[in-house]
């Protein structure tokens, strides 16, 4: 996400005030081993997709969407009111009658991810300290969206734990997150909802894992230890090599050694993430969670790709459209969703349904969660 740019031939004279000049931006990585040629050639003409209004939320902003195939959850904050009113709502995708499952209880914000596994939803409440990347507090909780029961998974209210927010995911009855321990080391934790037990995942001490994602027995994470710029990074700007941990065997594998990976997501056997390729250009990449050939999907200026195993989708800041990549067809298309000139929004890919919510500023002053079926795309 941090595509630093140099302007050849321009008058830009950016100089670092500290000696670690490399942190201006990582040098371009070499092609990932086994990568197929980029197929982000000129995308095909955009198919016109007509979204339906799934749920009109009114005068709130939506911070994030999450789904598990049956349920859809989202975070909201009212417009024009004092903060502290953040809520998380959930509804079944077939019947959009939402109910509130969590509210900000410490005066923080709830806009972060809302992964769902079974009847459990994981969410984060936090508050920034001043304008730093430190926090005054954070609480990572899971709520049973049927009973309202809450489990406190992790928290930081003092000490070194305030220096970063955790990244987290949930799937298959388990939640996983990264957290800095009292010695300042980055570690992964897992919570098993059926067993009601939390454990620290066993990884080599040389690794610095963050941004975990889970699918079945595989935990995918980014290892910041390989990032040459890590001394000048905070938790928001970290990158690293993409690795996986098999929870059954305890085996750790490297999915991509390139040290510029970030934002991995995993679903239905595939991992998608963003990597910074040559020229500081962001690119989407794809690999089977079991490892293998890396597909460099491409993208003009992509962020936060998601996949359902057959389609990879992302919003592209350069084209202002959603872009989709067919895993089998190996083809990228630019989607024309409705008539929105810029479809920048929070979104969740649930099966073949893409749910998204535009900012109220470009949607008549209120929020609507819309849905569009991508199943008919010729690339899927």
């Amino acid at each position: 996400m941090q595509g630093a740019r140099h302007h050849a031939g321009s008058l830009v004279l950016i100089a670092l005030a500290f000696l670690a000049a490399s942190c201006v931006g990582p040098e371009a990585s070499s092609s990932s081993p086994g990568a197929s040629p980029s197929i982000s050639r000129s995308p095909s003409a955009p198919p016109a997709l007509r979204p339906s209004d799934w749920l009109r939320l009114g005068q709130v902003g939506v911070g994030n969407l999450g789904c598990n195939g049956q349920e859809l959850a989202w975070t909201t904050q009212s417009i024009g009111q004092a903060k502290g009113n953040d809520e998380i709502e959930i509804a079944t995708s077939e019947s959009p009658h939402p109910h509130v499952v969590a509210r900000a209880s410490h005066g923080g914000t709830l806009i972060d991810d809302v992964p769902i596994t079974g009847e459990w939803l994981v969410y984060l409440e936090y508050q920034q300290k001043g304008q730093s990347d430190f926090t005054n507090f954070w609480y990572l909780n899971a709520v049973n969206w049927q009973t309202g029961a809450v489990i406190k998974l992790a928290q930081a209210t003092s000490g070194i734990g305030l220096s970063e927010l955790p990244w987290y995911d949930a799937e298959g009855g388990r939640a996983v997150w990264n957290q800095v321990d009292t010695a300042g080391n980055e570690v992964l934790h897992l919570y098993d909802f059926e067993a009601g037990q939390s454990s620290r995942l066993n990884l080599p001490a040389s690794m610095s894992p963050f941004e975990p994602a889970i699918f079945g027995s595989q935990v995918v994470f980014v290892d910041n230890a390989t990032d040459p710029n890590r001394a000048q990074e905070d938790f928001l700007s970290r990158r690293g090599s993409l690795r996986s941990l098999d929870l059954t065997s305890g085996r750790v594998s490297t999915l991509d050694q390139d040290p510029t990976a970030f934002s991995p997501r995993v679903a239905n056997g595939d991992v998608v993430w963003t990597v910074v390729s040559s020229g500081f250009k962001r690119t989407v990449a794809l690999v089977p969670v079991a490892g293998g050939k890396i597909t460099v999907v491409g993208g003009l200026d992509p962020i936060t790709p998601q996949t359902n195993g057959s389609i990879v989708i992302w919003y592209d800041f350069a084209s202002l459209h959603f872009m989709a990549f067919g895993v089998k067809a190996h083809r990228v298309v630019q989607l024309q969703v409705g008539s929105f000139p810029d479809v920048r929004s929070v979104f969740a890919l649930c099966g073949t349904e893409l749910y998204f919510a535009l900012p109220p500023a470009v949607d008549g002053g209120s929020s609507t969660i819309r849905a569009v079926d991508l199943g008919s795309l010729s690339i899927s």
Binding site: A4, F18, T109
Partner: protein, 279 residues
């Protein structure tokens, strides 16, 4: 793509008196409802009028402020009309320009984007105007007190609370006098771009922005701050002919470009003050 044919703007100076009178008569911004705004300093925000902000300006600074206002007006008119917006006030505003600026990382303490923004801005003045340089530790120290016009106001910066917008404005005016900085109201992404182009392209004056990376109305406007609600400051050192402004983000310690619209939405996400640039 804008093409420039250079021309002077004597008519711009005819508008000075009117523009200045209009500007001085109004508040720099009206406090929006919304109050506590998470990452940015909560509670009362110093929000002086332009007249209050310029009370200590020299006559040269006042004249320059008027010239810049006229230039923005002319620049916007030229662009809107489709004409080549070449504005000379007296320095011509090219269709793109990137000034010198030293990128300063907030550092391991990382609670100082406001003072870091000030230090980055001073690096540009030192380069072009030979003014005294100010390090991050110096601006951090400077801004822990309120210099002018603040009575019993808050410290302009603390690690726990952050930086007040007027605090940054005040700090920028203490250590250089080439530009008299004010909190200037803006109303659109086009305004962000135009004001930035005139200051950077015309004078090598950086422009600073502060806002929030998420808000309920505009969502996440910045591509490299997705999924997080953070209050933040950064200065602009450049702009191109495609509507982008270029910033030296002290958080990431590198340069990045955003559309004027993205920056406007970032600024507008912070609702405790009206959308403004420090200009």
């Amino acid at each position: 793509m804008l093409r420039l044919s250079r021309r002077t703007l004597p008519q711009a100076f005819l508008a000075i008196a009117g523009a200045l009178a209009l500007s001085l008569s109004g508040s720099a911004g009206v406090l929006a409802s919304g109050g506590n705004d998470g990452g940015n300093p909560s509670g009362p925000q110093p929000n002086p009028t332009i007249a209050e902000q310029t009370a200590n300006f020299t006559s040269a600074q006042l004249a320059l402020y008027s010239s810049k206002l006229a230039a923005v007006h002319a620049f916007a008119q030229a662009k809107a009309s489709g004409a080549s917006p070449d504005i000379c006030v007296p320095t011509c505003v090219p269709n793109y320009h990137y000034s010198y600026m030293t990128v300063i990382w907030e550092g391991s303490a990382d609670c100082a984007c406001g003072p870091a923004t000030a230090a980055e801005t001073f690096s540009t003045f030192t380069h072009y105007y030979g003014t005294t340089s100010r390090s991050l530790s110096q601006t951090e120290s400077d801004m822990q007190v309120c210099h002018t016009g603040c009575g019993k106001g808050p410290a302009w910066y603390t690690c726990a609370v952050g930086t007040y917008r007027w605090g940054l404005t005040d700090e920028l005016n203490v250590w250089q006098g080439n530009n008299g900085y004010v909190m200037q109201n803006i109303y659109s992404g086009t305004d962000v771009y135009n004001y930035t182009a005139v200051d950077v392209g015309g004078y090598n004056f950086p422009v600073t922005y502060d806002g929030e990376t998420w808000g309920p109305t505009y969502g996440y406007p910045l591509d490299n701050y997705q999924g997080v609600n953070w209050g933040h400051y950064f200065p602009a050192y450049g702009y191109d002919q495609s509507g982008y402004v270029y910033v030296a983000d002290p958080h990431y310690a590198y340069d990045h470009k955003y559309t004027g619209t993205a920056v406007y939405e970032f600024i507008a996400n912070f609702t405790a003050l009206s959308p403004q640039v420090v200009w």
